[in-house]
Symmetry: C2
Subunit: 162 residues, 2 copies
Amino acid sequence: MYSIGDVATMMGINPSALRFYDRQGLLPFVARDKAGRRQFSKNDLNFIEVIDCLKKSGVPVKDIGHFVQLCMAGDSTLHERYAYLDKEEQMLQDKLRETQAQLDFLRYKKWYYKTSVEAGTEKIHFAPGTNEVDPQTKAIYQKELAHCQNLRDLIDLAQDDA
Amino acid sequence: MYSIGDVATMMGINPSALRFYDRQGLLPFVARDKAGRRQFSKNDLNFIEVIDCLKKSGVPVKDIGHFVQLCMAGDSTLHERYAYLDKEEQMLQDKLRETQAQLDFLRYKKWYYKTSVEAGTEKIHFAPGTNEVDPQTKAIYQKELAHCQNLRDLIDLAQDDA
DNA sequence: TGTTGACTTAAACCACAGTTTAAGTCGTAG
DNA sequence: CTACGACTTAAACTGTGGTTTAAGTCAACA
């Protein structure tokens, strides 16, 4: 059995946060000693691992509470629990794709600034006679990207960025 | 030139959110017409694309404001802007790895529930004579994962999950 | 020449996810 | 036996990221 402080240390979660989760119905399984102190079992830690994973995946506290309720209800909710995790898997896969898209865009801008730094001015990307970025700039990057061997050569500034 | 409503529609951002970003100093470059209405240029949309990317990457509004200030300051900040995006690239790469780790864990739990549903009870994963998950359960999954051809066969329930 | 509809502002309001505070209860080590 | 540290609660507070409201301005169209 572990105290709330033990769990907080082991899981890297603030004790106040654990009490907050308890208040929100995420920890209905946690036992208490005679003095009313929370006593976490080894199995409780498995639960908290799931809760922590869902939390880090961006699932709202109240939704996690719903899942915990299903867990408390026994074998009749097994299918529903599976379906819930299946949905979350899809969410995470989407999130992974989105993050990748943001990374791709960020790398384009890194290239934009790498080449600007090398040229000493951002103007190399402006449409002639304006202070606006040439609409073709991104297409140029994408062409270079398609032809390049090593992404790092394309977007990383040599050494001196430290 | 585009109105705030045009931009909101094109970028999929609430007009109120755009005004909020402006108040927070994220849109100092936006022009106004005689009546005080915001007029967004094509180049402003490039900026908003960057802001939107950073926002979706989880960068706090005030940090984005700092980056925008650098952009306003001209060529002398090119290197700093590059370094900023380089740091954000690392952040996003870390985030990608974290999300992948959460996905891996979620898939373990999907397997846990798939096999439980197939058995009709969660008890197949409990240590004998207890109501606690056997500490070896995850190791069993990882062994099966290492040997399996197709992840979907391992963790997806046949058809009827619809 | 109204009267829409889209815009403007400041200020109030909201949800979410905790964190902090204040007051109190235990168990144990000196 | 008392003092300390770790725990308990309810309630107040915080920060972030907006959204909503109220009151007003303006351009264009019937």
